[in-house]
Symmetry: C2
């Protein structure tokens, strides 16, 4: 039987607050009955919504705070002024061991800054990453970093590979996840030295993953690998571009089906198929970016999502907590850094 897991939810985060967070938690609880919840936020707003979900109410408690991080607050501001906010308290609950993961639909930059401050990066990790689930023609893959930082050194790219592999192991239940390094096609192009060096490092290093080499942007959605590693600027642009393209094609499709009465009739008859397509392309199905590289699990939901979307982020928090990936990842990172340190003098001489 699944172990009981407690999630700390920032009830005030996102565009809708408790009206989305509470029903979202209720949906996820139906799928994962071992869950219990702590809602952080304004009790006067949370309690009435919670009362409408008695099963959830029996497995939840509210920690009251009126302080909220605004969606447009700068991370540095949020750090200064956000102590005691619903977001802050949710992360502190993870740190204190009261919750196994925190989920927030709030301000991404603020959440990242607070998570770094409260949960602290794992030993040897300078830069946590944000990992996104990416739907593929076969299933899903994990792409990281999708925007925690801009740029990444060779070592950081290798750490992303380890972190992504740990997450893939937890979510996809494969012991040696396949990992690809996102790159551009032309071989001799100047620049991106860190990507080339990370390629060499990942090829040679004896890591708990199956390194598949370079992959290109059009191969992400093909499901070629379990984990796609890229620095955060290009990763964020890739993610947003894919989302935009999906929306754009959805619009094309709608327009095309509305053109003539015959195509409208056809679309009506094929509505079962369109429903499947819509579900498949529904961004709420895989909602949630995970912060990796911290001593604790924090999941960021899209701010504008509804209960269905928020439930996906809660599911993700649950699966991450359930898998116990952090101790394993910590051990993998220690081994990796230990080896790197042992090799350093030799490679230093080599370069001099």
């Amino acid at each position: 039987m699944a172990q009981p897991r407690t999630l700390a939810l920032d009830a005030m985060g996102g565009d809708h607050g408790p009206e989305v967070v509470v029903p979202g938690a209720a949906l996820s609880l139906e799928r994962h009955p071992a869950l219990s919840f702590i809602f952080f936020g304004d009790e006067a707003r949370i309690a009435p919504v919670l009362a409408a979900h008695p099963t959830l109410a029996a497995r939840a408690r509210i920690v009251h705070t009126t302080q909220v991080v605004a969606m447009d607050e700068k991370p540095s501001q949020a750090l200064r002024r956000g102590k005691g906010s619903s977001m802050w308290l949710a992360l502190e609950a993870v740190k204190a061991g009261e919750a196994h993961a925190a989920v927030s639909a709030g301000n991404t930059g603020a959440l990242m800054a607070m998570a770094k401050l409260i949960l602290r990066p794992m030993k040897g990790i300078e830069r946590p990453a944000i990992a996104a689930l990416w739907p593929t023609v076969t299933a899903e893959c994990i792409v990281l970093d999708v925007g925690a930082n801009i740029g990444a050194t060779t070592g950081q790219l290798a750490e992303f590979a380890l972190m992504g592999a740990a997450m893939a192991r937890a979510l996809f239940h494969v012991e040696r996840p396949t990992v690809g390094l996102l790159n551009v096609g032309v071989e001799e192009i100047k620049g991106a030295e860190e990507v080339k060096e990370a390629h060499t490092l990942l090829k040679q290093a004896d890591l708990p993953l199956a390194y598949s080499g370079f992959i290109e942007g059009d191969e992400i959605g093909q499901g070629k690998v379990d984990v796609v590693v890229v620095e955060g600027f290009a990763g964020n642009i890739a993610l947003k571009t894919a989302e935009g393209t999906a929306r754009q094609i959805g619009q094309y499709l709608k327009d095309a089906m509305m053109r003539t009465w015959l195509s409208r009739l056809g679309a009506l008859l094929a509505r079962g198929g369109f429903r499947v397509l819509k579900e498949k392309m529904d961004p709420r199905r895989v909602n949630g970016g995970t912060f990796l590289g911290l001593n604790g699990i924090a999941v960021k939901s899209h701010g504008g999502t509804d209960a269905l979307g928020f439930a996906s982020a809660v599911d993700l928090g649950y699966e991450m907590a359930e898998s116990g990936l952090l101790p394993r990842l910590a051990a993998d990172l220690e081994t990796f850094h230990g080896r790197l340190a042992a090799e350093q003098p030799a490679s230093g001489e080599h370069r001099a």
Copy 2:
């Protein structure tokens, strides 16, 4: 009446050579009767295909060479060994003024290296860029750089803006094209200083374009701006990711329509709509990356395309040649660099 324009075609480039290049040229000639062509490559292979297109044959000549740049040749190799190849000769024809633009479906890296060597960068341009046409919900936009270089300085990003605007003026017939700078959402993120500085520069500079500020990856396809500026690593990844996502959704759609006999029937009735959608999503419709920033026009077609796709690249070469954008761009660049130089001492003091 349209002025006569001559295009230099690398008949041996791409996966299929003359079998695609010659019929592609014939298709484009139907649309642009003022065109004439020089085919560079193996006469024994070109002549028989050309003979099947008498209208084209009347407006074409062949310059024979048996030397060909292989699709997998490294750019440096191609430069050493490719003198006299079909690709090389096509570019030399542009330099010599015999042709108004060169089009090749050959090896991208080799074409870029040769184009730089033969056509030379325009005055003040260190780094030419590859610009791609990107379909949007409203029409098309131009995205650059999609992979000529990795990374870009503040000044280079501003040059990309000028080059993209010149291309947009030529293709979209707008006097002050709108230009956006591709960036990631979070405001306070560290890194990408050159993007932030380019933002300030473009906002303040009095350039022949309408600067729209930052845009994110999901906004490219919305047609928010005429020109999207980004350094080549992220730009290439964005382009490939969009292509991959479109293919992925096409696959989803096919699967969804094949599910039940009802959805199959519906899809059959709606086939007119699907045909429109397919045309809209057809990558051959907007095929061709343009090298910008050189003293001459060179267009790169996808290597694996067919005659229809190659014809789009020829169309693009024609429109670029027809517009006479190079002298105007040269003047814009000179003004820009002149102003920058005039401001340099002040800004230098400011920074010191």
